[in-house]
Symmetry: C2
Subunit: 253 residues, 2 copies
Amino acid sequence: MRKIAIANQRPGVGKTTTAINLAASFAFLGKRVLLVDADPQGGLTKSLLHDGYKGRTLYDVLQGISGVDDAAVPAEPRGFYIIPSSSELQGLEVELRSQKGWERRFKDAFKKLEGFDILLIDSPPTLSTMTVNSFVAANSVLIPLQCDYFALEGLPQLLKTIKLIKSSLNPMLEIEGFVITMYDRRFRFAPNIVSEIKKYFDEKVFETTIPRSVRFLESPVLGKPLLSFAPDSKGARRYVDLAREMMGKWEAV
Amino acid sequence: MRKIAIANQRPGVGKTTTAINLAASFAFLGKRVLLVDADPQGGLTKSLLHDGYKGRTLYDVLQGISGVDDAAVPAEPRGFYIIPSSSELQGLEVELRSQKGWERRFKDAFKKLEGFDILLIDSPPTLSTMTVNSFVAANSVLIPLQCDYFALEGLPQLLKTIKLIKSSLNPMLEIEGFVITMYDRRFRFAPNIVSEIKKYFDEKVFETTIPRSVRFLESPVLGKPLLSFAPDSKGARRYVDLAREMMGKWEAV
Ligand SMILES: Nc1ncnc2c1ncn2[C@@H]1O[C@H](COP(=O)(O)OP(=O)(O)OP(=O)(O)O)[C@@H](O)[C@H]1O
Ligand SMILES: Nc1ncnc2c1ncn2[C@@H]1O[C@H](COP(=O)(O)OP(=O)(O)OP(=O)(O)O)[C@@H](O)[C@H]1O
Ligand SMILES: [Mg+2]
Ligand SMILES: [Mg+2]
């Protein structure tokens, strides 16, 4: 099973958007996908389940109150499954840090995961408890980079954290790659920023870039990934391309 | 002197962009403006001063090492002045909280401020030390709201914090108003979001909305506000309109 944490402590770079639309894309390509919202702010949960969701959440799973199967909700008919976030995760973040082995809580809770090909974990814009937990539970990290002047901001700390987890708690942990998001063709410095990113990370940068598109703004309003309501849009197709590019790399190994 | 804190604990809603371009607009309209970067992440400082700035910062001012006049740097010839941020502010945030009267540090440091008509304070996406400090130092709060599905997210806590400061530490504190940012005409739910915002805050919502424009992405690359390199652009003109609308409200009182 591929277990991919989507992370970047810089806010608003497209983690949640990537998590949602990659989940939909992998499902479209025939994979069984479980999408976990590990952000206490719950942007992903609010984007797909809207308010008033009353079922089990990641909090219940991490506390051992609920199994993964009870908490997993279908995001849409014949699509992918989600484990929603909850604001209770905020308190848990603080509480966990004082417990021995707190970094493994996620991994242990998801150990017996069956019936899925891909686990995608959306993390908060921090390098604290939830994100560290997702790095311990995952076997790779996908890093979205927003195509603007501050694209590379914060990366040294992020990569250092990944290296730390790899050497101490999770030797399996790899970098899945970097995906450039919100590429705006009318931004005249976009090509410069892309080459700067490639200068540092070369083969780890996916060829597929995600274009800036107003359809992503519609997505949380409609409560659906782009593939559901705008399958021919550039945004939808690029995420399918990204999913294919990721699968291509897996086959090549 | 108008002292305006620009705040919203939601990240990426346009606080820094508004701080920079309002400063330039007020200066263009003849006001003497001091722009303070109170965000330890220093996005404003990096956008206008680029890397390698070696002078005095807000940290030095708050520690009493430097006066405001020594730390204030001209953002551009005959424009406005900036007090840059510094990563040392991160440590100060933690340190301050354990000191008696920590919320007044900012206010005290800027008490004898002369020679300016407008003080603009850019705050971090948090409701912690630096932001509380800016609320105590300021006499009003300008709240940018990003025109997307989550526009109203976090507002209850923000307004509660403002109310708390007003009733305890700063009876002068008012809400300057709400400014809608990143309005994208091609986003078909934009009008719905605007009316939702107006439903809650009506006369406090500025008529002027800031359009989504790729020129704002160029701004930190060029190290200048839009008025400097794209004075005829919609983005530049809307910020001047906003400045005029704010000044109009001041005259009306
Ligand atoms: N390709 C795109 N084109 C246009 N808007 C986009 C695109 N990708 C994401 N967005 C928008 O940018 C904002 C931030 O995206 P998103 O929430 O996915 O980032 P994030 O990294 O998860 O943020 P956070 O760090 O707060 O969790 C959202 O309003 C989203 O709709
Ligand atoms: N009107 C606009 N059109 C297009 N892009 C914009 C606009 N306003 C801001 N941006 C871009 O959106 C991003 C976030 O803006 P900004 O940094 O001003 O927000 P912020 O609230 O200060 O963020 P933070 O909470 O991280 O401090 C930046 O990349 C900026 O260039
Ligand atoms: Mg997110
Ligand atoms: Mg900012």
